[in-house]
């Protein structure tokens, strides 16, 4: 096989990665680095670098005993959600707790499920009052900080929310495509989002995206509480709380392997 030359405008390493995946898919057994490099006429070091990256993202797996490579399980599940929600909870529990402790507010982690926000994890407000665990419940995406943050990074979900008729919970709920679009743009610009009395009078929330490997948004973490505690005298989310939320989101993202966040 001739070596893979990129067409103008192509990224060479992506073209090569695709060729490696095709090669692994078409071969009956596992392949070693030498075999891959020879088949594609690549220097061994180059082939190794690409395979290692493919392995990191789960598209390629290495057999422990032979050291040879095959297609990874993640490729087979490309269409389904790539981070198991229970895993997201396990991996974020250490960071959700200190967020609740520092902020004094209840913390939730959510992901999108069929156009709604699925509460994946919930930490009580640390005042030892009676509260009910609402893991597994569904929240409206357009009227919660978690939901708006998730929509900001999921164009498809955002469009279908806007095409449906978003329910006006309060006077401040964003229900038009125009106001929602503007809010989502702002969230992307800022890297975090808030909701102030958009679902319940007297309540507000702040959330930030959780990113997984490669930077893909896999969830959102946020706090919520009485508007006079979450917001300052001008009705803006308190900067210290915003910083706590963003720190927690970054810490979870780092643990999930999102290098730059």
């Amino acid at each position: 096989m001739a070596s893979i030359r990129p067409m103008p405008g192509q990224v060479q390493s992506i073209a090569r990665a695709a060729a490696i995946l095709r090669l692994l898919a078409s071969s009956s057994g596992r392949l070693g680095i030498g075999e891959i490099a020879r088949s594609l006429d690549l220097p061994k070091g180059t082939a190794h670098g690409i395979v290692r990256t493919l392995q990191d993202v789960g598209f390629v797996e290495q057999d422990k005993t032979s050291g040879k490579y095959q297609l990874g399980a993640a490729l087979l599940h490309l269409g389904t959600s790539y981070l198991d929600v229970n895993e997201l909870r396990s991996r974020s529990i250490n960071w959700a707790d200190p967020l609740a402790a520092r902020s004094g507010e209840a913390v939730r982690i959510g992901t999108l499920l069929d156009g709604k926000v699925l509460v994946v994890h919930h930490v009580f407000r640390p005042d030892d009052t009676l509260q009910t665990l609402d893991v597994g419940s569904l929240l409206p995406p357009h009227a919660t900080a978690l939901g708006k943050v998730l929509l900001a990074y999921d164009v498809g979900a955002a469009n279908s929310v806007m095409q449906g008729e978003p329910e006006p919970y309060t006077r401040r709920t964003l229900v038009t495509a125009r106001t929602l679009t503007r809010a989502l743009t702002e969230i992307r610009d800022n890297g975090w989002g808030a909701e102030i009395e958009e679902m319940t009078l007297g309540e507000a929330g702040i959330a930030a995206p959780i990113r997984g490997y490669g930077g893909l948004v896999v969830g959102a973490i946020g706090l919520s509480g009485p508007v006079d505690r979450v917001c300052d005298g001008h009705g803006h989310p308190r900067p210290t709380l915003v910083a706590y939320v963003r720190d927690a989101a970054r810490a979870v993202s780092r643990d999930l392997g999102a290098a730059r966040w």
Partner: protein
């Protein structure tokens, strides 16, 4: 004043982690590294103590870097460790003479049976509060002395040292062959079978019973005092606490009053009840152990229900059966079905611990029919943890004459919502999780911080405890009774599996 922090090292069965805590007991950063599990023969479990020591050297700097703090900002180090696991090393070279024998290891089962019939066995048992079982360090150490030529003589001459993981780490942290401190704390010492629970010292008769030379043993100290200053990994920082991981979790859950109890769900699961200044002897298969001792104060004792296999059953399901790729996925798989489909798994991989103490038992999966899917198996895996908890809670209630009104939980498995709900369901009491799930580390940090005055007193620590989650029972009483009976019938099927001659062959 610049901020200062307390660092904990949690040397666990599967991994070693370092956590930096701030003054409010909040986790600031965490770094973790797994080590290899070696299973050279059925029933044998070993670790490489040098690998573990190297991992400490990796995770501690990583945790500090992540927190952005330097060694001069660390007020103290506290250590929590997997208990009972036994290391013997050369005092001159610092090299272990054999792989560490891990607490789950059952190679001593024949030895233990022989010892149980030997004169003086009952005295040893009374003195240490533990049944003769493969679980504890004493038999493991005796096995090493029996099976390594010349080791006994070297031990008598003080050329080799014995320790559980905290001793091994403290010795290495404080210089190793160059003046390393050889000591242990009361909680770890209480797991050897060699310590007198009342005097908190090694007992000559117990040492004679197991045939262990006193020269190889570490000095027993309290759980919370400045033992010395580190010269490696965190040079200049005071080492100010050591506790067995389960006792550390009791401390981290601020179970400071008699009657306070917690259960930690990790590789195994361990329910501990603070019984105050008096050791209470169990009549229902629980252990008597030291909970903690702060400096020169009297020791606080605990009753313990030890369950050998809980999280490790999930790991087995993941690594040996390959049915899931991560531990949390067990919940996803279990939720694909409504119930266990009539299937029960009793994970007596190392025999059964509390309250049965049957070393000859081995695991079973019962109720298999062609209806059973991997989803049902996943449920059965999680339910095994629930029912095993129920067994030790029943024993605890029977021993204390009081009924537990809520269970405080912590550990990695508390991230499993389905499991925590099931535990509440089978116990018929609420299950509550505190704000810090890494309670083992928190407890070690608390004990170290107390010793150096970073935290003033127990009362201050108690006010740090906040409720993070609460699961309330939802199961129908009739269902609970029916399922409980099925579980008990499944447990009976594990008994007597290993035949006596097979055990003798191990010797």
């Amino acid at each position: 004043m610049t901020d200062s922090y307390v660092v904990s090292i949690d040397q666990g069965t599967t991994s070693t982690r370092c956590i930096v805590f701030d003054r409010r007991g909040n986790l600031v950063s965490v770094a973790q590294r797994e080590h290899q599990q070696h299973f050279p023969r059925p029933g044998w479990v070993e670790h490489d103590a040098l690998e573990i020591w190297r991992n400490v050297g990796k995770v501690v700097p990583r945790a500090l870097a992540q927190a952005g703090v330097t060694a001069d900002q660390i007020a103290a180090i506290g250590i929590a460790n997997q208990r009972e696991s036994t290391v013997v090393w050369d005092r001159r070279t610092g090299v272990p003479v054999a792989p560490a024998i891990i607490w789950q290891d059952t190679r001593t089962d024949a030895l233990v049976e022989t010892l149980a019939r030997a004169p003086g066995a009952e005295d040893v048992r009374q003195r240490c509060g533990l049944p003769l079982a493969t679980y504890f360090s004493g038999p493991k150490l005796r096995w090493l002395l029996d099976h390594s030529p010349g080791l006994y003589e070297r031990a008598e001459r003080g050329e080799v040292l014995f320790g559980t993981m905290e001793s091994w780490l403290i010795w290495n942290l404080t210089g190793g062959p160059d003046g390393g401190l050889h000591l242990t704390d009361v909680t770890n010492a209480s797991r050897t079978m060699l310590m007198d629970l009342r005097t908190l010292g090694w007992h000559p008769d117990s040492l004679a019973f197991f045939g262990i030379p006193a020269a190889m043993l570490p000095e027993i100290r309290s759980s919370s005092e400045v033992y010395g200053t580190a010269t490696a990994v965190l040079p200049g920082v005071r080492i100010a606490a050591a506790l067995g991981d389960q006792q550390a979790a009791l401390f981290g859950q601020t179970c400071f009053a008699p009657g306070d109890a917690k259960c930690t769900y990790g590789t195994g699961s361990f329910l501990l009840l603070n019984t105050g200044a008096e050791p209470v002897h169990s009549r229902h298969g629980l252990l008597t152990t030291v909970g903690y001792q702060i400096g020169g104060e009297p020791a606080v004792y605990a009753l313990e229900g030890s369950i050998a296999i809980t999280g490790s059953l999930v790991q087995w399901f993941r690594d040996r059966l390959d049915l899931i790729s991560t531990a949390p996925e067990i919940e996803t798989l279990a939720r694909t079905v409504e119930d266990n489909g009539g299937c029960y798994i009793v994970p007596a991989f190392s025999g059964l611990f509390a309250p049965h103490w049957r070393s000859e038992a081995r695991g079973v999966i019962v109720g298999l029919t062609s209806y059973i899917t991997k989803g049902h198996l996943a449920r059965a895996v999680l339910e095994a943890t629930g029912w095993q908890t129920r067994e030790v809670v029943d024993a605890m209630n029977a021993d204390s004459g009081l009924d537990l009104t809520a269970l405080r939980v912590d550990g990695g498995m508390t991230a499993n919502n389905l499991l925590m709900q099931f535990v509440a369901d089978v116990l018929a009491v609420p299950v509550v999780r505190p704000m810090v799930a890494e309670t083992v580390s928190l407890g070690a940090a608390y004990a170290a911080g107390l010793a150096v005055g970073y935290w003033p007193d127990l009362e201050g620590l108690r006010s740090n405890w906040h409720l993070a989650a609460r699961w309330v029972p939802e199961m129908d009483d009739a269902v609970r009774a029916e399922e409980r009976e099925n579980w008990q019938r499944a447990v009976e099927r594990t008994f007597g599996w290993i035949k006596p001659e097979a055990r003798a062959a191990n010797e």
